[in-house]
């Protein structure tokens, strides 16, 4: 098909000789977290909105699936989804902060600033550190609230 023939023109950057750098990691993680937020986060958000609109029973069923089933005999399915739901929510929290901080970095880069090698590396590393720190802070708060009832 037209356009799919291997090109004789040189590839840039040369794929065999690059060295992995934080700026590349933060770039690919921006795409991965954006993807995850759009698909997993989007579907959970829509399921949650639909459950609120559908009434108390539907909402209770949604919460029993993704967070905690209060019934004395919990089905195996809910035992799995209760754990999975929390893992997904922690993952979405991290993806949100990673994408947010990385997006803020992109605004700075769009303005033409922050391209100096050391500055670029520093802010790339700080994006990762900031996202992990914010995620940990948020879930420690949730855990504390849960323990205090």
């Amino acid at each position: 098909m037209a356009g799919n023939e291997p090109s004789a023109r040189p590839l840039s950057p040369h794929l065999q000789v690059y060295k992995w750098a934080p700026s590349m990691a933060v770039s690919i993680f921006h795409r991965i977290t954006g993807d995850g937020l759009a698909i997993v986060g989007g579907l959970m958000f829509l399921g949650w909105l639909g459950a609120i609109a559908a009434g108390p029973e539907a909402y209770a069923a949604f919460i029993a699936c993704v967070w905690h089933d209060p019934s004395p005999e919990i089905t195996i399915f809910h035992q799995i989804t209760n754990v999975l739901g929390k893992v997904v929510l922690v993952g979405l929290t991290w993806a949100f902060f990673q994408h947010l901080f990385s997006g803020l970095r992109h605004f700075v880069l769009d303005a033409g600033a922050g391209y100096e090698l050391k500055t670029n590396k520093l802010w790339s590393v700080l994006v990762f550190a900031g996202a992990l720190f914010a995620t940990a802070a948020v879930w420690l708060y949730v855990l504390k609230e849960a323990l205090n009832g």
């Binding site: 098909m1 037209a2 356009g3 799919n4 795409r31 954006g34 993807d35 937020l37 759009a38 989007g42 579907l43 958000f45 829509l46 909105l49 639909g50 459950a51 609120i52 609109a53 559908a54 009434g55 108390p56 539907a58 909402y59 209770a60 919460i63 967070w67 905690h68 949100f96 947010l100 997006g103 803020l104 992109h106 605004f107 769009d110 948020v138 708060y141 949730v142």
Partner: protein, 135 residues
């Protein structure tokens, strides 16, 4: 397609059409997302999410419902643009690329319509004297 002249390529193909508009919309919706999603995440941690009545009361407040609708538009348009670029970069077969873009548009537009309809239903059901239900 042939290589053509540079002028021909600028006139007919590639980012010479809507590239800058796509780029700008991605940034404008990003700005909207920073405001709206940050508000949403803070609200989630302030709400008692296990209590349907409390969540319903919150979501049916006119200001909250309006902000939720704006959030859906901003977020779904932002990821439609972002995932489009990802599909164009990583899906190489013409047929699978076209199919992926169609699915993306169905998901983004259909999902946004579902979300906005749910918000409107939550906000207007009490005024219309309707019990919740029917989603």
């Amino acid at each position: 397609m042939g290589n053509g002249t540079r002028l021909g390529r600028v006139r007919g193909l590639g980012s010479s059409k809507h590239g800058s508009q796509h780029w700008l919309q991605q940034r404008l919706t990003a700005l909207g997302n920073i405001l709206l999603v940050t508000w949403f995440v803070v609200s989630m941690f302030r709400l008692d999410l296990g209590d349907h009545a409390a969540v319903h009361r919150w979501a049916s407040n006119p200001t909250v419902a309006l902000a939720l609708i704006l959030l859906v538009i901003s977020v779904f348009w932002h990821f439609r643009l972002g995932l489009q670029v990802m599909i164009e970069d990583y899906v190489h077969g013409e047929a699978t690329k076209l199919l992926s873009l169609v699915i993306l548009n169905f998901y983004a537009i259909g999902g946004a319509a579902y979300g906005i309809f749910a918000i409107v239903r939550i906000a207007l059901a009490p005024a219309a004297g309707l019990a919740p239900g029917g989603m």
